[in-house]
Symmetry: none
Subunit: 191 residues, 4 copies
DNA sequence: AATGAATGAGCCTTCATTCAT
DNA sequence: GATGAATGAAGGCTCATTCAT
C-alpha cells in the first residue's frame, strides 16, 4: 500500500463517503469527487475498492486494540482499567468518527475476514480478562456473566456511532464516564 | 399492500437474504431464487426493492414498539418493567432473527425516513420514561444519566444481532436476564 | 448454456464481430449492436464474454473432430482418407467461416484450456494415424516425418483463414483438392 | 524513430510480452515492467502503442523479405531455392521467435496497413516465382496450383509459431528440411 | 401469477496517453 | 531519461425495473 502525497486525502474522503452512504452504497466516483480527482485516478493509490475499506478501517481498529493491550498489562485496579478502556474507546469514536462508523457498520461482527474476526475476538478477550481480574480482586461481583457483560459494553460503545456526533471533546469524555458508571454501579439505588 | 398467496414467502426470503448479505449487497435475483421464482415475478408482490425492506422490517419493529407501549402503562415497578422490556426485545431478536438483523443494520439509527426515526425515538422515550419512573420511585439511583443509560441498553440489545444466533429459547431468556442484571446491579460487588 | 430464441443470433453476431476485430479487440457492445440489443441484454444468454467465445468456437471444432473420427474408422485407403479429411476441413472453413476464423485465431495452438488442447491433440493424432497407416500400406513413402507433415497440413489448412473468403462452394472444393495434390504428390515432376 | 540507449530492451520486452499475451491483451504497463521502468517512461521511446508493434515486427519481416529477394535473384535451381527459402524462414522463426510470433498473429494476413499487405504480397510473389521457374525448368510438375501451393507452404511455415519452441538450432534446420521434403516429394511413395 | 427477455443506468476496473517535476 | 500522478474513455458486468405473453 503506497503512501504518496494525497494518500491521506483519499482515505479521509473514503471514510467520509462510506460513513455517510455505506460501503455498498458508495461509488468510487463519489469518493473521487470528494478528493477532487477522477475515479480512475484512485487506482494510483489503491488496487480495489475493498482496499480502501481496509485502509479506512485499519487505523482506528489497530489503535484501539493497541491501547487495550497496553492497558491490560498495567497494574491498575480492574474498575479503573474499565473506565480507561471505555474512555479510549469513546475518544477514538470521537476523533475518528467516520472511520469508526465505517468499521462498526462494515466490519465488526461480520465475517469479513479471519484477520478482522481475530481482532474482534482479541478485544473482547481483553475486556473479559479485565472482568475476570476484577472478580478475582473482589472488586467485581462474583458470578458475573462476563461474556454477556463484555458484549453489552462493546455494544453500548459501538452503538454510539448511531447517535453520537463529534463536537465538544469534553462531552465525549462525559459520555464515557456515564457509560462506565452505568456498567459499574448499575441503575439500582444503593440504600 | 396486497397480500397474495406467497407474500409471506417473499418477505421471509427477503429477510433471509438481506440479513445475510445486507440490503445493498443483495439483488432481487437472490431473493427470487430463495423463493423459487424469477426476479421479474417479484413485481407481482412489490413495487420496488425498498418496499421489500420495509415489509421485512415493519413486523418486528411494530411489535416491539407495541409491547413497549403496553408495558409502560402497567403498574409494575420500574425494575420489573425493565426486565420485561429486555426480555421482549431479546425474544423478538430470537424469534424474528433475520428480520431484526435487517432492521438493526439498515434502519435503526439511520436517517432512513421520518416515520422510522419517530419509531426509534418513541421506543427510546418509553425506555427513558421507565428510568425516570424508577428514579422517582426511589428504586433507581438518583441523578442517573438517563439518556445515556437508555441508549446503552438499546445498544447492548441491538448489538446482539452481531453475536447471537437463535437456538434454544431458554438460552435467549437467560441472556436477557443477564443483561438486565448487569444494567440493574452493575459490575461492582456490593459488600 | 441456455438456448432461448435469439441464442443463434447472438452467437452468429459474436462470430462475425470476433472474426473481424479479434476477440480482444471486440467489445460486447459491438456484439450487442450487431444483434440489435443492448450490451447488458447479452447477459440473458451468456454469463461472460469468454462464454461467447466458446459458444462461437465449439460447433465447428466439434464437428471437424467428429468427422475426423468417423473417417479414421473407415476402410478407405489412407490417401483417400487424407483427401476426404482435407475436404471436410475446407468445407467447414467455407461454411462456418467466421466461427473457424475465431477458432484459429483465439484457440488452436494457444494454451487456452486443457479441454481445447486435448481436442487439438486428438485431431493431430488422427491425422498422424492416417499417415502411419498409409506408410504401413506401402501407399506413403517410408520414413515420412509424420509429425511435421501432419502439422504442415494442418497449418496449410488453417492458414486458409488468412486468405480464403467464402464464395462458390465449388471453388472451396477445388482448393481442397489442390492442397491434397500438393501434399500427396509434391511439387517435383515425376518423369 | 530515435534509438536511445535502451531502445533494444524496450522492443525486446515488447516482443516477449506481446508474444505471450497478444498485442491487445498486453498493457504498456506489462511491457514497462518487463524493461524495468514505469509505463510513462516508455513514451520517451515510442509515441504510441502501435509504434511498438511495428518496431517489434519490422526486423524479422524485413529480413525475411530481403533474403527472399536475394535468393530469387540467384541462379540456383528452383528446388534448391525453395529449400533455402524454407530454411531461412525457419531460421528467422527460430532466432526471432517472439518477434515472429507477434508478426504472425497480429500482422500477416490481416488488413493492418497497405505497407504490410504489400510486404506479404511480395513475399508470396517471390515464392510463386520460384514455383513458376521450377515448372519452366521442368523440375516441378506442370500445371501446379502455384498460388495454393505457395500459400500452403507459407501457412505450414507460419503455423510453426503455434507448435515450435526454439531450442537446438540443428532441430530447427531438420524441421526445415522435413517441410521441404514433404512439399517437394509429397507423401506418396514412388515405386 | 409467472416467465423470459429487454432496458438503461451505473459500477469497478483497465489503460493509452499526457505532463510537471 | 525517468517518475508519479492525473486524465478520459472504454469495457465487462450487475441490477432494478418493465412488459408482452
Amino acid at each position: 500500500m503506497p503512501r504518496p502525497s494525497r494518500w491521506d486525502d483519499v482515505v479521509a474522503a473514503a471514510a467520509k463517503v462510506f460513513s455517510e452512504k455505506g460501503f455498498g452504497g458508495s461509488s468510487l466516483e463519489d469518493v473521487a469527487r470528494e478528493v477532487g480527482m477522477l475515479k480512475g485516478s484512485l487506482y494510483n493509490y489503491i488496487s480495489s475498492k475493498e482496499d480502501l475499506l481496509f485502509a479506512v478501517v485499519t487505523p482506528p481498529a489497530q489503535r484501539l486494540l493497541d491501547q487495550a493491550r497496553e492497558l491490560s498489562e498495567t497494574d491498575l485496579p480492574a474498575s479503573e482499567k474499565l473506565r480507561r478502556l471505555t474512555r479510549t474507546h469513546v475518544e477514538i469514536i470521537h476523533e475518528y468518527f467516520p472511520y469508526v462508523n465505517v468499521y462498526v457498520h462494515e466490519i465488526v461482527g461480520r465475517q469479513v475476514s479471519d484477520e478482522w474476526s481475530e481482532m474482534d475476538r482479541e478485544y473482547l478477550r481483553l475486556l473479559e480478562g479485565i472482568l475476570a481480574e476484577g472478580e478475582k480482586q473482589g472488586l467485581f461481583a462474583p458470578g458475573l456473566p462476563r461474556r454477556v457483560a463484555a458484549l453489552s459494553l462493546v455494544g453500548a460503545l459501538n452503538w454510539m456511532t448511531r447517535w453520537y456526533r463529534p463536537g465538544d471533546p469534553a462531552a465525549a469524555q462525559a459520555i464515557a464516564d456515564q457509560i462506565t458508571d452505568v456498567f459499574l454501579s448499575g441503575l439500582l439505588s444503593r440504600h
